[in-house]
Point group: C2
Chain length 488, copies 2
């Protein structure tokens, strides 16, 4: 049963398992105690710290273990901001950081701090020059991931670190997705990572703070982990984390090259096999094991469910798969389609056969979902016949359609109105696709929608289908009216 969601959590590496078992017996005591069980625990902790620091590329006394990557980020951001309070209260982050960084930024903003988000291009990458330009007066800290967790795009960390160094701003790198593949290059100041992303156990994060970086840990602290991570050390898991990091690094070059080829195969084959698909993220500057694509006219939750039935575990940034019913902030920042989104992240050891089987299964699964959603000519082009069975599409002047939609009382001229109010992703886009053929070239369609995903997916659809997106405006009937001009 192929598990293709390593970016969420990788299965435990055999070395992690062995080290965990061994240190359950040797490493349960308090490393702060001076008796033999404590000294033994201290030796294990020190050795784990040395090994992890070597893999990170820092000194052992610069690295502490935290209960998770999320907590490493939270502690790193708050400690660095507080340590640099005199420099200012501006925090600069990329728009596609992991939610742990963005949540820390929200707390900073709520406490009166300033947060500047650096945008990304359609591949998900920041531009180093744009990032540098955002390091304005009073910048206390900048945060940039090494590579994106949803689309795999690598960020120009070394260039950004150099720009930060030039203006004396510390750079925190969230290396959660990349640390198992190699150290983060360049002159970063703080680094956070998470063991269960590289095959280590849950319950262990890393926070490295370079000597000389002003750092004031926030919240209650104790004497453990240099005062930067309070609470009894999770020692067996820490030992397992360090041992498995060393092990995956030894395998990283060969396994990375192998997985990179498998991902290239997915990147190339999916658009050939499935119509109306957008493969996102940088095709070259990327994590070796991760690829993301979005399928037009597909409900992400159903797609995941169907893939799960076929034995494939993947994740999605579609709005219908999030508890907040908003699309992934990463896809939104990139301006790419969010509906029918699938992230495939291959764990080490994934076989070519499993990838091929995924490619065999995917087209039928997508077609099935489209068919059930009533997408006209599911596997072919979705524009055309103007079939509106069950849809909210109505002609411009006021006819009531089958779904109960009412024409909007605006001077719509020749605009065709599609009422998708109360309908969730991907319905608004499907309805748009159904009617676009009904207006003449040069004519416009107004799509009324209150689903958050429509704001991202209607422009993305226009881009994919070569239609012109004219913008949005408030709708008198609630929600938003998205204006599309037929150009093709």
């Amino acid at each position: 049963m192929p598990y293709f969601d390593a970016a969420s959590a990788a299965p435990l590496h055999p070395v992690a398992r062995q080290a965990l078992l061994a240190s359950l017996d040797e490493g349960w005591a308090d490393p702060a105690r001076l008796y033999r069980e404590g000294r033994r625990a201290r030796l294990l902790l020190d050795a784990a710290r040395e090994a992890a620091a070597e893999a990170v590329g820092c000194r052992a006394d610069e690295l502490v273990f935290t209960p998770s990557g999320t907590r490493a980020v939270h502690a790193g951001v708050s400690g660095a901001l507080a340590g640099r309070r005199r420099a200012g209260n501006r925090l600069v982050v990329s728009a596609v950081e992991h939610s742990s960084v963005l949540h820390a930024a929200e707390v900073h903003a709520a406490a009166g701090g300033t947060v500047a988000e650096v945008p990304v291009d359609r591949s998900g990458a920041v531009d180093a020059g744009t990032f540098a330009a955002a390091l304005g007066e009073g910048t206390a800290l900048a945060c940039l991931q090494s590579a994106n967790h949803e689309v795999g795009t690598a960020q120009p960390v070394a260039e950004v670190a150099e720009a930060c160094r030039g203006v004396g701003v510390p750079l925190l790198v969230d290396a959660a997705q990349s640390l198992g593949w190699g150290p983060v290059e360049g002159g970063w100041s703080l680094l956070a990572a998470s063991a269960h992303k590289w095959g280590g156990p849950a319950g262990v994060g890393l926070l490295a703070v370079r000597k000389g970086v002003r750092f004031a840990p926030q919240g209650p602290s104790d004497e453990r982990e240099s005062g930067r991570a309070p609470g009894f050390e999770n020692l067996p898991a820490i030992v397992a984390a360090a041992a498995s990091l060393r092990a995956v690094r030894a395998e990283a070059e060969a396994e990375g090259a192998r997985l990179r080829e498998l991902v290239d195969r997915i990147r190339a084959r999916v658009p050939e096999l499935v119509p109306d698909v957008e493969v996102v993220g940088d095709p070259v500057r990327r994590l070796p094991h991760l690829v993301t694509f979005s399928c037009l006219y597909v409900d992400g939750e159903t797609l995941l469910h169907e893939l799960d039935r076929e034995g494939f575990s993947v994740s999605s940034g579609s709005s219908c798969t999030s508890s907040t019913l908003t699309p992934s902030h990463v896809l939104r920042a990139m301006g790419v389609l969010s509906e029918g989104n699938v992230r495939v992240s291959l764990p080490a050891g994934t076989s070519a056969e499993d990838v091929d089987r995924f490619l065999d299964v995917l087209p039928g699964v997508v077609a099935g979902v489209r068919e059930r959603l009533g997408v006209p000519g599911a596997a072919a082009s979705a524009t055309g016949s103007g079939a509106v069975a069950g849809s909210g599409a109505v002609a411009g002047s006021g006819a009531v359609a089958a779904s109960g939609a009412v024409a909007e009382d605006v001077p719509a001229g020749d605009a065709l109105v599609v009422d998708a109010l109360g309908r969730r992703c991907p319905i608004p886009v499907i309805e748009l696709a159904k009617v676009i053929g009904d207006v003449p070239v040069g004519g416009t369609v107004r799509v009324l929608a209150d689903d958050e995903a429509a704001r991202l997916d209607i422009p993305a659809w226009c881009e994919m289908r070569g239609q012109e997106y004219l913008g949005e405006e408030p709708s008198a009937r609630g929600g938003v009216a998205y204006l599309v001009r037929r150009t093709a």
Copy 2:
């Protein structure tokens, strides 16, 4: 090799080990994901929460897992204080809470909040009436441990909870030391605990917040654990924690009774076997497995070291065993001797033979430490001959003693001055004991000392030896002058 420091960390319970191993294979995936590995992880997490909640005596949706007991306390205190901000900013804690509570209180005070410490009696217990009286206007939260971690004394939690309820103040109970022995009685509002104290793995704490308690989690949060404990769940450890809590509870009555007898044996025999010892903590209302005593004229660090050489792992609240060189705040709050302090906390399964061997070994170890410290007539009374070899004791008028002490330029009258400036615990008390016989009954000794432990240990010595402690005053030569009148 008997390990007698279960109150720091208990060795892993066999059930915890089994559960951890089983869930390494079943519980590594993200329980928030909808694919099969995620659903399986979710089932494990839900079952662990049910089991832990049943043991705590709360609803499953009132309980979250945190990365440690310390983090449970920190999150509980900050969340409850913030949730009750409108009620006021007063926090009431006992003076003998675990450092995690006191550190959270320090952060509250540093942010402008008020902290009231409720004193304890010589047994280490708060008086429920005194605690109730401290719940003044604007009290947002009260904290009381179920039982003390250093001396084992049980607190009147049910009475205090009732008093709190009467005035509408939530009570947070730190149950870290007692939860393995049984649920906390009474109407508490919040409860924190730590798995590695009951034989569960490190890396798991519990925080229960009763429905209806106003609670506003502080710091960055995510969707995990009801927004109260951010970061990827440490699932295998959580499963092991819950399974072992259930297992130790099944054994608690019988094992508690057995260990209670072994502790009673230690409490009775130590004062018979070792002269000048004070056994502290409540002899009856106490944890079953824990006993603490202090030995006059003994250096705690050396004592621990010698016991470790004999194969016994114990801990100590003596100043010389802490990195801050201050005595345990618990012993200080109780007003009992801190030098030569030994805490014995028996893990489940401790044999009577190991306890008897400890009692065999202890007298010789204490005598040896005293002898090396030059305590006159080590195993007998320490008062008497006035031998001052190597000491800083000088007659009142200015003679320079062997240790380089200089008489203080005060109108000392008939006071004998002992200069112990720069000398660490237990030297000031040893020097006092050496010279007390040199002054006539009714005469006074001034002990000059700058070691923090002297403030606790000189009055405690007076109490133990039937001498009169007159108080302290600043010394013109630095440090503090402690005044003792010979009455016996």
